[in-house]
Symmetry: C2
């Protein structure tokens, strides 16, 4: 008798974060009597006079957006991080138990398009390419500052993922210290690189391409797959084929490849339940401390909450908060669903 | 000029998990245009014929609940973990990159009361005491089994936290391996104990009692406070005054003290926004490997999502998922709000 991973509870190792994930494949068979989400009506207006991100409109604090026609970046009016914070470190107890320190940084908002009704999935590749360029400029600008150690670029898409406005936009939080998650990834990647002389994600990608079970999409420069250790139901990772440490090191051709892949991933998501798919997405690359970081391998994570339908999501609560991350479907079946959605798009074109 | 933690972004160290939390106190000043939650109408029926947890009713799979009159435990009909899984470990790659192993365990559901309309906040202390007793029995029963390494007891309260049924109940997931979170806490507690000869939480509790800024409630055996490193808006930790490694080691008097504290915490929460407060809550104690674990200090975590009102929650998305945990109000102001709510209860009695 072989151990059937598609039916039997097991745990999988996340080598990128260094932690275990509990997989309970049979669990979606249970009936769902819990909260169902409301599906937002599709946004139809290309311009919304009440939207604080649309061109020409007024934002909080009296600023006016310019009549931008591609991307537009501004300093977050309610930034979680601020520059020029005086340095401070306290350890009231001298026992490492009540410890705070200052954290400075810069938070910006990046509008992806002047069109209020678009999403990455609906934008043209050429226009997504402008988003990739704007990200790169931001990384170079913020990352070159002396007191910025990391630039976290991300997007919260959909009300279910806390986005407070449907206008296509993302955020950039640049901080003095390296945040928790990239810092864990760095530790794991460094250990692998030191031992094997290759990046963790090149070795992993080579294995996945050979096994061909969890691959969702591939182009000349990027591969999208459901990682073996995925936590969110339809989580994917987008990995650059070349072992490149950060977004700023991509060639022109790779930037275009990334834009194409972003279009593919987001439109595939939208096809799964025929709804604008909510997610948090973010870019992970080397810290901006000026070092080379050959151990770092540039990638993007997509964390989408929907599980069974457009209205039934996965809740990360209870055991997930107090015990371990847990998922209800296997990475393999999620990859299969995503590939089917992608085929639907291809066949209608 | 002093550094004002109540106004300036900073980060705080969580010594129990060994990670940093970003605190952005000024952030709630931003207007909220995002998703608002619907407040569920209070449950009024003491018995609901369609509820699969009410006494006498039929559950999924054709089982019938007995006519229980206090607590009632049963095996989860859609368990995330199952006993008697054959042992299995694969590392397809031999490079530590595609690693899975079998995970066996037992998942149970514990009904807190036969009354469909109650919550811990509304139950009598004597009845909550029966819940504490049932937890203890479960820990002893499951924990004594050879292949159970940890017993995670928790409650998801409210639809917002993924509870699929308002009937007062919690869950017990007992697993072969120690889950991620208690395992991190163990590492941190062991390091502290080895160095200082006292548990991390006794040293921390002594400091907090002296500072008296974040204490919410105290009785003879337990203290509830907003930890310095809290992530969720009104997160609290309930710490046993005696350095005791697990629930099973509590004295009769301490069990009663815990029941009283559970009543205090949950009814205080309900007063904050005058609504049945959603949360995930769980007990953390030593693993059930038969060792003493003098480094472990028994405690409970409450993770409630509401931030500004009964309908505006904190979203753990974007930066929180891809960067670091982040909060918008200080632990000190949250403690103040909770103390005010508690005073309101006291003055009306
Ligand atoms: O078992 P329940 O209550 O149906 O499900 C709930 O709690 C579980 C354990 O925390 C989670 O994995 C589920 O996502 C959540 O909806
Ligand atoms: O800045 P926004 O979009 O208003 O806010 C959203 O993203 C932030 C960064 O991920 C989170 O901290 C907030 O909880 C979320 O609602």
């Amino acid at each position: 008798m072989t151990f059937d991973l598609s039916q039997t509870p097991h745990r999988r190792w996340n080598p990128l974060r260094g932690e275990w994930v509990l997989v309970s494949p049979h669990r979606t068979q249970r009936p769902w009597q819990g909260q169902t989400e409301t599906t937002a009506a599709p946004v139809v207006a290309q311009y919304d006079p009440t939207c604080y991100l649309c061109p020409g409109n007024e934002r909080a604090g009296g600023h006016h957006n310019p009549q931008y026609d591609a991307t537009f970046v501004f300093e977050n009016d309610f930034a979680a991080l601020k520059p020029d914070i005086q340095a401070f470190k306290n350890d009231e107890s001298n026992a490492g138990l009540i410890v705070a320190e200052s954290e400075s940084g810069i938070c910006r908002v990046l509008c992806f398009s002047p069109r209020h009704d678009l999403t990455l999935a609906k934008m043209e590749v050429d226009d997504i390419r402008k988003v990739v360029d704007a990200w790169t400029q931001q990384l170079l600008d913020l990352g070159s500052r002396e007191n910025i150690g990391y630039v976290q670029i991300f997007e919260n898409r959909g009300a279910m993922m806390g986005a407070s406005n449907p206008h296509p936009h993302g955020q950039i939080w640049a901080s003095a210290s390296v945040p928790d998650d990239p810092s864990k990834e760095q530790q794991q990647q460094l250990a692998h690189f030191t031992k094997n002389g290759k990046t963790l994600l090149s070795d992993y990608l080579a294995l996945e391409l050979k096994l061909a079970q969890r691959i969702v999409a591939e182009n000349e420069h990027f591969v999208t797959l459901v990682p073996y250790w995925a936590v969110w139901p339809f989580e994917v990772i987008v990995i650059s084929k070349r072992a490149v440490a950060g977004l700023d090191l991509l060639t022109e051709a790779e930037r275009l490849g990334l834009a194409e892949m972003l279009k593919t991933v987001t439109s595939t998501y939208d096809k799964v339940f025929d709804v604008s798919f909510p997610y948090s997405m973010g870019l992970h690359g080397r810290p901006t401390d000026g070092e080379e970081h050959p151990e770092w391998h540039f990638h993007l994570h997509f964390y989408p909450p929907l599980l069974r339908s457009a209205t039934v999501r996965k809740f990360m609560v209870g055991f997930e908060l107090l015990g371990s991350p847990q998922r209800d479907i296997t990475a393999e079946s999620a990859a299969e669903t995503l590939r089917t959605a992608l085929k639907k798009i291809a066949s209608r074109e």
